[in-house]
Symmetry: C3
Subunit: 274 residues, 3 copies
């Protein structure tokens, strides 16, 4: 079993992704590819950071994950490879693994420099084909991270500053819209532990969630627990607070976009105020 | 050989489909996936019903088909698994298998309840990952339908009422636009046997097909049997009457949309009238 | 190892591609598919011709490439199969292999006629499913090109006239926009050897590239060698002159479209003129 996953911003109109797979299959003919997505917004490192953090844990041990969102291709930015929780990750050193690395202990980390594992000719514009694909195929065949280049310490890596939820002076929990999915479901950066802490610290009984000029009372257990086309807040399937419309498109309904602010208050507190 | 197909409304921008494959590969590492489509219109059960009915017969014996168009996820709607013609089907009990079940005898049918085959934690929003993926992988490894849960009778299932063609008082055959494909070809719900019956019953020599204010005379044998950008009617590759433009987009040309009505008359009859 | 690649204009909303894979798997259950792209513009043979020419060399020996961009489906146009450089190609005889065939010697070429390798029922609208898929699966299992039908000579094939760069009376190198990729990078038909010849013949020191009313001075080595959102010209990863914006969309910036003309002058020459 040699599973190689791909997260890129390459889209699927061009030959880029197919060619990467051709290169990898030329090295490991028994590779199985899983396209996580090729629709990261061009150069959106933060989006890719959330995607790999949310996905990797559903793959079996030994999986190789290639994350090719690489605005610095052709510059001096290094490519890094790491082993963590029995899986392997290959990415540009641009912070795209920041959220992943919070998940646990890194067992091996290297700067990818050993040209023996690259294509013979390296372009300055398509390292996905010339470096990522052949290196990932080699890892999937058993090449060790330490064979790829000199070891690195995680402190040496580019670290992305990713907006985290915080508590305002007024005691509100303040979060941000991280993504809006295919269904229009709005994912925030507020995860379940963060929400639980807010409940306990403030002895909250029921939440009120503010998005734009709208408010949603309480958390639902499923999309279908409200009427059709009605809004709801829910802990989504990857553990983050999500705002949705039952069988509708919340993104369009709330005219939401990435980066929008979400406020959470204690419903009782609000009513005491009013 | 373990083939698992997927029909979903998940799109391909998010990590949903990739994560489902990761879960399935964790159970059956030799699974081969075929994406039939992830572009079912959100929650469009009828569209998915046509897709699975048209596709399954082109897959080898033993294929497992996952149909995850599931507006009721997290509600009490059951998930069903069935065996038919040597193939396996897994879907929510929302009528999405209605057209498929008209194709033949069901050999085994169960309500999917055995948690042994699910992920350990079941979300209320993503049963594709938590139930469909692991159950389909288990079926692909040889788990029998009857091991998944209590047997069901097909009469107990949700049955979708899908618009069928009918003959009007004026003797016209009346059909509906079911889908418009990537090329703009317009597929109707009128299949070849239905059309043949209309020919024979009415002793029709040549058809005239009405779509909006337009009419097309007769059936063509291929797209290229009319001039470039000219309209034609044809029996499409899945056996339904289709309206197309040679090397053009009939959907845009006729401003057609799903649900539009199509009339078919006997051309001679029309001329006798006129 | 049985790799089958697909280049089509089928899109991914419909069941077409999935059904083709089902048919191929029914014949060769160990086939591995690589989707190069299904987003060729409908009936755009020239685009597909560039795609296969650019991609094939990254695949291992024995790969079967199916190119199904086929406006003449159902007409009398033949289907051809050929072996070249240890790889196999299956396409309609409409010129889509014109650029590929310039790459080297054809080792075997046949008109695909042997119905033993087709589906039993052949539609007039979907040869991708009924002929291309089963024939490619058979080739991937070892069936020889010559078993598919009568041999052909390359002179008998449809040859596409593809616009090539030329030198104008004023001594400019004149090229054409061939495609605009997912990132908005503009690819021209000017390849590296052609550019080198222009350098040598005209003793050029530095190029000036004209696109619409804009000009770009010199060639860059990487996207990041200019400031963010600044334009540049570069030899792209498939060896053609490309106009790009560092971390931006050149297609939108220059309002470029396929078929637009690009002029290249000697920068010194220009300054002597002015």
């Amino acid at each position: 079993m040699s599973i190689i996953t791909l997260i890129t911003d390459f889209g699927i109109e061009d030959a880029y992704v197919g060619v990467m797979k051709g290169v990898a299959l030329s090295i490991n003919s028994s590779a199985t590819f899983v396209d996580i997505t090729h629709h990261v917004n061009p150069q959106d490192i933060v989006q890719a950071a959330y995607l790999i953090k949310s996905s990797y844990k559903y793959f079996p041990e030994g999986t190789v994950h290639m994350i090719v969102v690489d605005p610095g291709v052709g510059s001096e930015r290094p490519i890094i490879a790491l082993e963590m929780k029995g899986q392997f990750f290959l990415a540009p050193d641009n912070g795209v693994l920041t959220l992943l690395m919070d998940e646990g202990k890194i067992d091996s980390l290297a700067r990818v420099e050993n040209k023996r594992f690259f294509l013979k000719t390296i372009s300055q514009t398509f390292h996905g084909r010339d470096i990522f694909a052949p290196v990932s195929a080699n890892i999937s065949k058993g090449i060790k991270i330490k064979e790829l280049g000199p070891p690195l310490d995680r402190q040496e890596l580019v670290h992305l500053t990713i907006q985290k939820p915080y508590t305002s002076k007024q005691g509100e929990l303040v979060g941000t819209v991280v993504s809006i999915d295919h269904f229009g479901n709005i994912t925030t950066n507020i995860d379940e532990p963060c929400l639980k802490k807010f409940y306990i610290t403030n002895q909250v009984k029921k939440l009120e969630i503010f998005i734009g000029k709208n408010r949603i009372k309480g958390l639902s257990n499923s999309y279908s627990s409200v009427k059709r086309h009605h809004p709801l807040a829910i802990i989504g399937s990857f553990g983050y607070l999500e705002i949705a419309l039952n069988q509708g498109n919340a993104g369009r309904y709330f005219e939401a976009k990435k980066g929008d602010t979400i406020f959470i208050k204690d419903l009782q507190e609000i009513h005491r105020e009013e």
